[in-house]
Every structure is written in structure tokens, then in C-alpha cells.
Amino acid sequence: MWKKLFAWLDERLALNDLYKATLDRPEPKGNWWNTLGSASLFLFLLQGATGIFLSVYYTPSPDHAYDSIQYIMNGVAFGWLIRGIHHWGSSVMVLVVFIHMIRVFVTASYKYPRELTWLIGVGLLLCTLGMGFTGYLLPWNQKAFWATTVGTAIAGSVPWIGPFLLKALRGGTDLSALTLSRFFAAHIWILPAALTGLIGVHLFLIIKHGESEFPGKDD
């Protein structure tokens, strides 16, 4: 019965091929350093899931942002857990993505034919940092407000286009409701969409080329 059902689905969805390509593909001899990409993917999914849950209560407006987070922390069952995972998970994700990059650099895995996997990885790192930067403002407390004031002011110090960048980031000359709502849009729509697309290509390329072997003494 189940075998028949699976065979029916497999014929149409290529489940076995998918399984072989993703989870059962041949790997060079590696170690725990090779698991950081998967760890990054797991953290991305974890941040995505907890972020979706948080958006059920969070309200991106200066009048409500702070209070809605207080409510998540104290008024909603397991709100402290969901937000705690999202809060600490963001730091862990930046860390893991960064160590992943260092591992790829040290083992020279960015070389032919994986240059584009590396470049897309750079995009993924920047998007991850962007998620951290935009998410930091959302609690709308003193730390968030001034960190974003400083962060956007740094962008404003770029020669020639600085004032434009600052206004584009802040949605005006000052930090305001416009800043909060555009950071929120970037945090839950623009950057996650970019991340999802880039992760898709990144994974496709990894499956296509396979993982690189660690360089030996002769390399």
C-alpha cells in the first residue's frame, strides 16, 4: 500500500532522485567544519519560522513596537522563548555564516569551478548582516534607536552620495516612523526574499559541483 503510494509519487516528483542528490550524495572525507553550511541553512529556517511567529504580535509603528514586544515577552505564552530564539539565533547565525566563510577560504574551496558559489556566498553574508542591522531597530528601544542613528550616519559619510544614502535608509533626514516601517519591510520581505533566492542558487551549485576535497600537502 505505502510502497505503491510512494512509487506513484516518486514517478511524478522524483523523490528518490531528490533524496540521492541532496542527502545521499557522495562526499569527500571531511570533518565537522564541513557542516557549517548546513548549520547556516538550519539557522536561516529557524530564524524564518520564529520571525513569522513574532510577526503575529509585533507591530511596526513607533507607538506600538516597544509595547508589542513587552507584550510578547510577558503576555503571550512562550513569547519569551520564541523571541529569545530569534534574538540569540541572529547572533549565532552571523557567527556561523562568518566561520563558514573562513572555512571555505582556508580550504581554498572557492577555486574553480566554485567561484560563483563563493560570490553568491558573499551576497548571503551581506544579506545576513543586513538582517541583523534591520532587525536591531525593530524593538524600538534606546539601544535600537541610537544604534540605527549611528549606523545610518556611517552610510551618510560616504563621499558624494552620502546624504542620499542616509535619506534613503532613514526614509528622510531623521529617524522616524518611516525608518521603522522600511526597516521592517526590508527585514521581513526584501532581505528574506533575496536570501531565499541566493540560498537556492548556492545549494544548486553545491549539489552540481559536489563539495571540494580538502587540499593535501602537495597542493
Partner: protein, 164 residues
């Protein structure tokens, strides 16, 4: 290793991965479900004894409006609502407490001294001094606080007020 306890390295990894995955999924998934349905699990019902004033301060035979406010918290937003009741002392110990909310659409009724009627300003509903419908659209008499919803403590009249 001998006998039926043999398990291949692959199967061990598969089972361990599935077990750890299930554990992590449950550890996050189950609290997340509670997180989502939390507002539906809160009762939102509150009750309180509201003091309306000294009983002997109410004139016998004359309906007197007593007002009070109650605040409710929805999520992180606090709303303050005003309520009013008409207190009618029929004797030194007997009282009749009527809500001032018209039973038609909830406007606040007023006591009209000349007509000796409660009149609703919205659709001209008329209620008698005991709250009974005399005319207009209301479907039922004015709500009354009676029995164990009313008590007198140290000369102060209190009503048991329910919300939600």
C-alpha cells in the same frame, strides 16, 4: 558485535538524525502552537464589586445616576470605558439598580422627571421607573442588578459588575 543487535552505520545516523530532528521540532513547534493560540485561551472575563456611594445619600423615590469607569487591557492597549447605573431607593433598605444602557442599541437613557420615564435619546424608547418597556423599539426591559449582584457594606451600596 553479534546477533540481531547489529545496526549499520547508515541506519544509526538516519535514526539519530530523525530523533534529534523530531526533538528539536517538538521543542520549538509545540510552544509555537501555544504562542499562536494564546489569545484564544485567555478568558477575558473580569468581575468586580463597584461601590456606587453611601446608601443614605440616595434620595428615596428618585432615580439617581451613578457613574464609574472600568479599564480593560487588550494586548498592550488599555481602554477605559464609562458605565452608568440608575439607583432608585424604594425604602431605607430596598434598592433598584438599573443599567442606563438602552436594550435597543446601547445608547444611554436619561431619567425624565416631568414624564417620570427613562427616555432614550437615540430612538425615543421609553422605560418605566422599574425599567419596563413603555414604548419604542427596545426588545426587553432595562437590565437590572438584583439578588446577589447587589449588596450593602458599611452603608455603601455595591454592585457586582461582570465584563466579557
Amino acid at each position: 558485535m553479534a546477533g540481531s543487535h547489529n545496526i549499520s552505520r547508515r541506519d544509526f545516523i538516519k535514526i539519530t538524525t530523525a530523533a534529534v530532528g523530531t526533538f528539536i521540532g517538538a521543542a520549538i513547534g509545540l510552544p509555537a502552537i501555544d504562542f499562536l493560540i494564546d489569545p484564544a485561551l485567555k478568558s477575558g472575563k473580569t468581575d468586580a464589586w463597584i461601590p456606587l456611594g453611601k446608601l443614605d445619600a440616595f434620595e428615596i423615590g428618585k432615580p439617581t445616576l451613578a457613574t464609574f469607569t472600568r479599564s480593560t487591557v487588550n494586548g498592550w492597549e488599555k481602554t477605559v470605558n464609562s458605565y452608568g447605573v440608575f439607583v432608585l431607593c424604594t425604602s431605607d433598605t430596598e434598592t433598584l439598580v438599573l443599567s442606563n444602557r438602552c436594550t435597543h442599541l446601547g445608547c444611554h437613557v436619561n431619567w425624565n422627571v416631568d414624564k417620570q420615564e427613562y427616555i432614550c435619546p437615540c430612538h425615543d424608547a421609553q422605560f418605566g421607573i422599574n425599567g419596563e418597556v413603555l414604548g419604542g423599539p427596545p426588545p426587553r426591559p432595562l437590565d437590572r442588578f438584583s439578588g446577589d449582584q447587589v449588596k450593602v457594606e458599611d452603608g455603601t451600596l455595591l454592585i457586582h459588575f461582570l465584563e466579557g
